[in-house]
């Protein structure tokens, strides 16, 4: 069976192979996505983000289980940081989702960031499309969860759930700039801990102060480990989707996301061109040398590089 068929038939191994190929920038995989792109668009893509230690994996696990009861097909992409020193990584989010592994209608994939800034793996976008074609009704993207870089997730997801925990008052202050704004739904996890309602109030206040919001995000208290508040959260996810569809916001978001993605892809190709060109003639090294010894300024250097690739 061809990979393409396997993907359409819901074969996990085929889907897994294709994700690997996308990670490797494999042309065959990209061609398959091109060909099957009209099969995408059915999945609700949900980003799960928030500071480390907030229990994002457990929450994702519980959301997936709740949606499985409605017979929905689920894809999960769990992202962990890659070590900048070794290029390796330990991807441990599956620990929280082990009993989902055997569910025929759930596909979980762990990814390292592999040096790509923004907390999202470079291949995430490709993997999301593959899971969409694969037939998933919901695709969860669980991010690394480190501060500002999480803003990137909005550019991939339809809905972003910010996962917070009680007693992170200072952290809220620290991350509010830019990051608070990306949450469509706020889930205060571990709400059985002291201070949960205080944290909820603080977040609500902060959200009320923000004036560039069309819709004030709901703030929910949940305790994922005890499966408390999950059904409500699922309801809010659905409300959010209804809102997005009715307000035409879904189209707007997806268009914006597409714009960002296209620019990223072009950017990447240009950089690859430069690197390729550089490989053949060692240009970059030479120019950098000249800039370093002050024979050449970096702006002229840029023009030279740009002109050289125009020739290609």
């Amino acid at each position: 069976m061809q990979l393409e068929e396997k993907l359409l038939n819901g074969d996990k191994r085929g889907c897994a192979k294709l994700i690997s190929m996308v990670e490797n920038n494999d042309k065959e995989a990209i061609d398959i996505i091109k060909k099957l792109y009209n099969h995408t668009g059915n999945a609700h893509i949900i980003g799960i983000t928030g500071p480390p230690g907030g229990g994002k994996s457990t929450l994702t696990d519980r959301l997936a289980k709740a949606l499985r009861k409605e017979d929905k097909k689920i894809g999960i992409i769990a992202i962990d940081p890659t070590s900048p020193f070794s290029g390796g990584s330990i991807l441990g989010d599956r620990i929280r989702m082990n009993d989902l592994s055997l569910d025929k209608e759930v596909f979980i994939r762990s990814m390292g960031t592999r040096g790509y800034l923004g907390g999202l793996s470079k291949a995430t976008q490709g993997a999301v499309k593959l899971l969409d074609i694969f037939g998933c009704d919901y695709i969860f993207i669980e991010t690394v969860g480190v501060g500002q870089s999480e803003v990137d997730i909005v550019k991939t997801a339809d809905t972003v759930i910010m996962v917070m925990v009680p007693g992170l008052g200072d952290d809220i202050q620290a991350i509010k700039a830019g990051v608070m704004e990306i949450g469509d739904i706020f889930a205060i996890n571990k709400s059985d801990l002291m201070g949960a309602s205080k944290t909820a109030t603080e977040i609500k206040m902060m959200l009320d102060m923000s004036d560039n919001m069309e819709r004030r995000p709901p703030v929910l208290q949940v305790t994922a480990i005890k499966n408390e508040g999950i059904d409500k959260l699922v309801d809010e996810i659905k409300n959010q989707m209804n809102y997005l569809e009715e307000s035409n916001e879904l189209y707007e978001r997806r268009k914006n996301n597409a714009k960002t993605e296209i620019i990223k892809l072009v950017e990447e190709d240009i950089i690859n061109l430069i690197l390729k060109k550089n490989e053949s003639i060692g240009m970059l090294d030479d120019i950098a040398h000249e800039v370093a010894i002050k024979v050449l300024d970096p702006y002229t250097a840029k023009d030279r590089v740009f002109n050289s690739i125009k020739e290609l």
């Binding site: 230690g53 457990t58 330990i90 441990g92 620990i95 929280r96 007693g167 801990l193 480990i225 005890k226």
Partner: protein
Amino acid sequence: MYDKEKLDQIKKSKKDWEEKVVNKTLEKYPERLEEFKTGSGDEIDRLYTPEDIEDIDYKEDLGYPGKYPYTRGAQPTMYRGRLWTMRMYAGFATAEESNKRYKYLIEQGSKGLSVAFDLPTQIGYDSDHDLSAGEVGKVGVAIDSLADMEILFDGIPLDKVSTSMTINAPASVLLAMYIAVGEKQGVSSDKLRGTIQNDILKEYIARGTYIFPTEPSMRLITDIFDYCSKHVPKWNTISISGYHIREAGSTAAQEVGFTLADGIAYVDAAIKTGLDVDAFAPRLSFFFNAHNDLLEEVAKFRAARRLWAKIMKERFKAKSEASMRLKFHTQTGGSTLTAQQPDNNIVRVAIQTLAAVLGGTQSLHTNSKDEALALPTEDSVRIALRTQQIVAHESGVTNTVDPLAGSYYIEAKTNEIEQEAMKYINKIDELGGAPRAIDIGYIQQEIMDSAYIHQKEVEGDKRIVVGVNKYKIEEEPPSDLLKVDPAVENLQKKKLDDLRAKRDNNAVMEKLENLGKACSSDENVMPYILDAVKAYATLGEICGVMREIFGEYEQSVRL
């Protein structure tokens, strides 16, 4: 401990010695290593002098054995009065086979039993459960019901031995079985002596045989505290364990810090349920590891005793001296044993035995030389027991109490470990206590960091392990290892089938239902577990009821 003038003279003369004598020697004969480190990786000085213990106040910090702060020992006369309990951890295959091993150990001079259960028993599954496949009888004895327990202690009068059971998540069930066996022997529960490990927090941290989430687990533990204080008063209701924390790779100071932090959590939980601290604290016991760095280990045991005494007195306002006195069991360090040249392990165990005894342990298990390869054979267990007996009767270290006290190094190291351990406790307090620190993976990660550093040092030859990275030889694989017959699994399954056919299943159902109701209420579950056990409900059935109501723990890993 010294007057200021004397101390100044000592400081001055030490400086002289360093400048004139040491430096000259170093020029000609540099030291072997650039830096010297303890087994835990702490830097260690060339020489310790009174300068290093100048802040010690003898009466306050050391005092007398059997008196606060117990630095010098838990009892006034220590081993002059009674030797430690030589307690060999054993159990494998079926109850019948383990029963034979226990009788052999008692014959050989062992004074207390220590029961090892297989993993399905420790995790509350019957031998016929899917997840038990391949594990039945492997690391300990398989116990599915009271029927197995009756065989396990057949011919062993429970009023004559003290029995330690390494059981945690289902501790209340195994304790109930023990009480029921006692009853059948005509021994009332107030005469039973022994210990259950019952330390769930270190299972979350390091050992992995957890079942239920933190909250219900803590409730089961405090239920046991409460029940035993009324009905089994001589029973040690918990053995708060640093052993496995150390095995997982912690340093000596982390072993003390994390273990006592767990201890604090148990005391907090018990007080919260309304128990009086002095009603249960005297029944708390501890369990530590003995590694190869003899002096560091001795200091560790002393530091643990002193720190716990202070915590009980100052933090928990205990009034009874017995509440402040830390008593502990020791096991030699399993992770220090090598699969290479296994005979060398006998020597390691001997050094570790000395450390435990010089540190004032109340009981001791010595590992056997072949345990990096398989379960120990009867012969290797005997050598391990003899090691204790030689230290007890031939080494002479038992003739005076706390003989290493007053050593500049030992006292300085005792202080250092106590301070470092206290730092960890403070950090854990900041995070909201041990359960929370475990939940976010803090303790596990600290231990893992230490373990990884250790591994890298061994691989980089910065730490010599004889036979592993130095003095290696070509050797034949050992041939006389103990093998558990895979047929044990089927045997246990058959016993279960027979039991289920024979017992009054309606009575079992009823007792299990009652247990379920108790679990959902605030009532103490112990009496209900005891009822179920006596009706021959299986361990898996009892734990199954609790699983349904309490849910299951989810591991927290931060790598």
